[in-house]
Symmetry: C2
């Protein structure tokens, strides 16, 4: 961090170019996780970066954050996030988050109402992207979850950068 | 939770009476932490409740969340929050959070610039309240931290209810 800069300034994104903003998010996460491997600390700041990055792009995100694999396997438990109060527990395989956790594949959902077994923490959510966080041993550590108030809030560009963020989280955090 | 209610609805506060809204916050936290003792899950939802409760009262909070005592004692590490990216580590005794952690007394700061050794995570913050979370053995587990963009954002009513929330967190969470 530059001398005299406040941490809050990481939440300022000035471009309107989606790839540029998401690359800045990746770079900011890298800087913030240097010498810091506490996953709670790192994912708390990551959820803030995600919120402010997408809001700066005028994407109507209403939830940006994380679920992590509970001590009891095959279940996700709520982690750090920005947005409204959320469901605490999600079984692997249930809803969009559970599907990503179980399949270990990114779920890009243009209309959540068309997703079989969608769990609505917020009835206003229209679209969602969930990216699994998988360690080198092939275990699902958790998921990155973003909700949007509009249909088709996310696309391939988001998938690319959020998967990059997911890999960075595995590298930088001790779970 | 009532049947058919979404979790996100806990973030809706309809009154303009400060005591009533803060009592609702306490009640909502109690409901959400029933049968759930994971501190990360519970404090993530608590930070959302705090954000939406104060925003509904038109208090310009710019940060609502938690620092917790690090495995290395005498140091706070960033926990779940809502708002802009924040400082990761704060030594006991440093700044408003560190003072609350060390003294185990609530710090009600009407003007952060007049607080000796104030740590600015966000240069725009004008006032702050920090409430220690202390377990029954007298150990500081962490702090509740709220920042406001206006001077004198918080007062005795906030101190009363946030200290109640702090006691509830000790009762409901395994750290």
């Amino acid at each position: 961090m530059s001398e005299g800069m406040h941490h809050a300034e990481y939440s300022s994104f000035s471009s309107q170019d989606r790839e540029e903003v998401l690359q800045t998010l990746i770079d900011s996460y890298s800087a913030l996780s240097t010498d810091q491997d506490n996953w709670i600390c790192n994912l708390s700041n990551a959820s803030s970066l995600l919120w402010h990055a997408y809001r700066s792009l005028n994407v109507n995100v209403n939830w940006t954050g994380f679920y992590v694999t509970n001590v009891e396997d095959k279940e996700l438990i709520l982690g750090p996030f920005q947005g409204k109060v959320a469901c605490q527990l999600i079984a692997f395989g249930r809803g969009v988050c559970g599907a990503a956790a179980e399949s270990q594949e990114t779920q890009l959902v243009k209309d959540v109402n068309k997703f079989p077994g969608h769990i609505a923490c917020d009835g206003e959510t229209k679209s969602e992207i969930v990216v699994p966080i998988v360690n080198e041993q092939g275990k699902t550590l958790g998921v990155i979850d973003l909700d949007c108030l509009d249909y088709e809030g996310f696309g391939e560009v988001d998938k690319k950068y959020l998967e990059e963020l997911s890999r960075l989280i595995v590298k930088t955090c001790k779970f």
